[in-house]
């Protein structure tokens, strides 16, 4: 299995503060994804990346930005956190090496915005 580490695992922050979540992978996978999961909404795509410095928006990208300066790291930033961004955030990689095939997920980050 691919090695994916998400950090932090849990975070509590206040409205209006910036927050950065990190996804680190160890096997040089090209394709990486950020999803959020909320009750009643399933998994929703925030941003994805198809290489270093190559990223694109997903379905729910408003209020989020991403950066990928190295193959192994995909960062998700909430510029000014809002309570509606309280969620569980999952990072994923495309384990097969092809885009959008056999996604492997990290353990998730539980983010609470008060």
């Amino acid at each position: 299995d691919a090695g994916i580490t998400q950090s932090p695992r849990h975070k509590v922050t206040e409205t209006g503060t910036p927050v950065t979540l990190r996804c680190h992978q160890t096997e040089n996978h090209r394709y990486m994804y950020w999803y959020r999961q909320d009750p009643g909404h399933g998994l929703r795509l925030i941003h994805y990346s198809y290489g270093v410095k190559d990223t694109d928006k997903g379905e729910v990208s408003d209020g989020y930005s991403v950066s990928r300066s190295k193959t192994e790291d995909f960062l998700l930033t909430l510029e000014s956190a809002t309570s509606s961004q309280t969620s569980v955030y999952f990072c994923a990689i495309s384990e097969s090496g092809q885009i959008n095939e056999k996604l492997f997920f990290g353990s998730g980050t539980q983010l609470s915005v008060l």
Binding site: Y35, E95, I99, N100, E101, S107, G108
Partner: protein, 110 residues
Amino acid sequence: QQPVQSPQAVILREGEDAVINCSSSKALYSVHWYRQKHGEAPVFLMILLKGGEQKGHDKISASFNEKKQQSSLYLTASQLSYSGTYFCGTEIRGTYKYIFGTGTRLKVLA
């Protein structure tokens, strides 16, 4: 654009069968199925790449009807370990966006 899954939730007894459906309003190129246990990350189950193709994984199999833009997951002789939430996943044709269906919560009782 999110594929719609049905039913939303199902409760079974061990040994019973279940079918979970995934329908899309957009053309599907391929469909994947995942299972997520409570408090854990989703885990890949199987991929269906061609219309009409059926794949199997233990006593779990799936079909994909490209013309109807639907996929179905079949769980046969369910076991307690099958409990969890099932998601279909697919790429939006014409984009590289990979999205998931609305999810189906399945609970198997002893």
